[in-house]
């Protein structure tokens, strides 16, 4: 009898569908995966180490580059964490909170669009890819209007926002969310009822609720397994308790359910954005915390006090009292957590980021063992990983 040989193939770090520089060592028996070992770290930039050597303000741009598909969610988590550390959470003005929620939800849509695009492309449906990027482009344009950058927005500030909304921005957002549910219908029209799509996703990369909690899945991936947990509702931040939305849960925990969960989440995000737009009132965008927030630009250029004030904050930063906090936010990919330790200096003593993709990726080996090579692609796609966040 012939010896049963296992073929080891090296998938990535250069591979079209490992979503960046993920390397998977796959041991294959024919096309059946016997063992999958992820190797990560090819994109490690030492964000945590770098942030220890920067002031709190200057660490903010580093967070843009974590999950580069959802920069505003990262910003939001970070500024909330620093605000909590400073104890100024209650001082954040209403307008800043509403804009934060609005942008975080737009970011969620943006991130989910890229997920859907690449996931569908991985499974072979190439048209959805371009449709999704068309809508994402609209969000990118909004980003650009708002912050001057399409990807790394760096828009939120500790204590509020860097700039107020530009003229006509609300109209843009409103016309976008008016159109978005129709676009989601289009994607669904191409995929949901498609027999091949169903065959490729139903029952693939299944994980049940207990296993999902045990391995640490969060976000839509966990909710698709039937665990009703959403930080926006359960540990509300930035005023999420004032919005009405459904936490989407599904029961089967397979690729199809995760797909449906994320699509429904986009619809809910549209609802939240609509409520945020209705709530939006003129008002200050920075907290009344002079030790933390920069003075308005007119003051800086017109008065010596303003200039000194800005100079002090820029050069010295602010010094939270010693202590440690953990702030989790519901990023598009799951729970994004910042664990900050302050020693009373102007730099974070320790900043630990809990990237959702990092933990979610851990579930990959158990999802794909015994499955086919094609299912590995589907599983990577359905976990919605971003290597910038995994490797930090």
């Amino acid at each position: 009898m012939a010896k049963k040989d296992i073929m080891t193939i090296n998938m990535g770090p250069q591979h079209p569908s490992t979503h960046g520089v993920l390397q998977l060592i796959l041991e294959l028996d024919g096309e059946t995966v016997v063992k999958a070992t992820p190797h990560i770290g090819f994109l490690h930039r030492g964000v945590e180490k770098l942030s220890e050597n920067r002031s709190y303000h200057r660490a903010l741009p580093l967070t843009d580059r974590l999950d580069y598909l959802a920069p505003m969610s990262n910003n939001l988590g970070y500024v909330l964490a620093v605000e909590k550390l400073l104890g100024i959470t209650d001082l954040i003005p209403e307008r800043a909170k509403v804009v934060r929620v609005m942008m975080a939800e737009l970011t969620r849509i943006k991130s989910h669009l890229v997920w859907l695009a690449t996931h569908a492309l991985d499974i072979g449906a190439m048209t959805v890819f371009l449709y999704c990027f068309r809508e994402r482009e609209a969000i990118m344009d909004m980003y650009e209007k708002l912050s001057g950058a399409r990807m790394t927005s760096n828009y939120f500030r500790v204590g509020g926002l860097s700039l107020d909304l530009p003229e006509g921005f609300e109209k843009d957002v409103r016309s976008f969310i008016d159109a978005m549910p129709g676009h989601i219908e289009t994607y669904e029209g191409l995929l949901t009822g498609n027999k091949i799509w169903q065959k490729r996703t139903i029952g693939v990369a299944k994980i049940d609720a207990d296993a999902a909690i045990d391995i640490g899945l969060t976000g839509p991936a966990l909710r698709a397994s039937g665990v009703d947990w959403d930080l926006r509702r359960d540990n509300p931040y930035s005023g999420y308790e004032e919005y009405e939305f459904q936490v989407v849960t599904r029961q089967n925990g397979d690729t199809f359910d995760r797909y449906k969960a994320r699509l429904d989440e986009m619809r809910e995000s549209c609802k939240i954005i609509r409520q945020a737009l209705d709530k939006l009132q003129p008002g200050p965008i920075l907290a009344d915390a002079p030790a933390v927030c920069l003075p308005p630009k007119e003051k800086v250029v017109n008065s010596i006090e303003g200039l000194i004030h800005q100079f002090k904050i820029i050069t010295e930063g602010f010094k939270p009292e010693p202590g440690e906090i953990y702030q989790g936010v519901e990023a598009p990919k799951g729970e994004l957590g910042y664990y900050l330790v302050s020693d009373g200096s102007a730099n974070p003593y320790r900043m630990k980021i809990r990237p959702p993709s990092f933990v979610n990726l851990q579930a990959l080996p158990q999802m794909v063992e015994g499955a086919l090579l094609a299912d590995v692609i589907a599983a990577i796609g359905t976990l919605d990983i971003v290597l910038g966040e995994i490797d930090r």
């Binding site: 990560i40 770290g41 490690h44 030492g46 945590e48 180490k49 770098l50 220890e52 050597n53 909590k84 550390l85 104890g87 909690i213 045990d214 391995i215 640490g216 665990v227 947990w229 359960d234 540990n235 202590g323 440690e324 906090i325 953990y326 989790g328 729970e335 957590g337 664990y339 330790v341 003593y349 320790r350 630990k352 809990r354 990092f358 933990v359 851990q362 490797d391 930090r392």
Partner: protein, 159 residues
């Protein structure tokens, strides 16, 4: 609520709980290193902290003991958070693994070993995770130069 859990924990492990702190509404419990697995097991099974959000090491260079390993726990039913810490001395930088309690600890502990140099006893697969296999040193330690080994300490500018 978290205080009730702490009280319960104190009841079950009177000798283990060393310090309880509250900062910005978050409770931190420092426990003895030897009992971390039992404490975690207790918290998971008896107190419902079924989700390990995060696990990391903190380097308090110059203090004794030097390291802290921090466990951020979450209770999905009551939506409560709790932080458990253990102190780890430099000369014996080793903690029992909790990957038997929550599988998710596996990669977190690997990362902690990789970047902070804290070993986890009985860990199923303790390899470096972010840095290359043959890397020397543990970058997140405070005495590790920011710009890499053999370089001047960072002075707030590029040198």
């Amino acid at each position: 609520m978290s205080q009730a859990v702490v009280a319960k924990l104190k009841g079950a492990f009177p000798a283990t709980v060393q310090e309880v702190k509250e900062h910005r509404g978050e409770v931190t419990v420092t426990v003895k290193r030897e009992d971390i697995v039992q404490v975690c097991d207790f918290l998971k099974k008896e107190a419902g902290y079924n989700f390990l959000c995060d696990l990391c090491g903190v380097d308090y260079l110059g203090q004794q003991p030097r390291f802290m390993v921090v466990y951020n726990l979450y209770n999905i039913t009551t939506k409560e958070r709790l932080r458990v810490k253990v102190a780890v001395p430099e000369e014996d930088a080793c903690v029992e693994t909790v990957s038997g309690v929550w599988s998710t600890a596996n990669w977190h502990e690997r990362e902690c070993w990789d970047l902070m140099g804290i070993r986890f006893a009985n860990h199923p697969d303790l390899r470096r995770i972010l840095m290359p296999e043959n890397w020397e040193g543990h970058p997140l330690r405070k005495d590790y130069p920011l710009q890499g080994p053999g370089r001047e300490p960072y002075q707030g500018r590029l040198s």
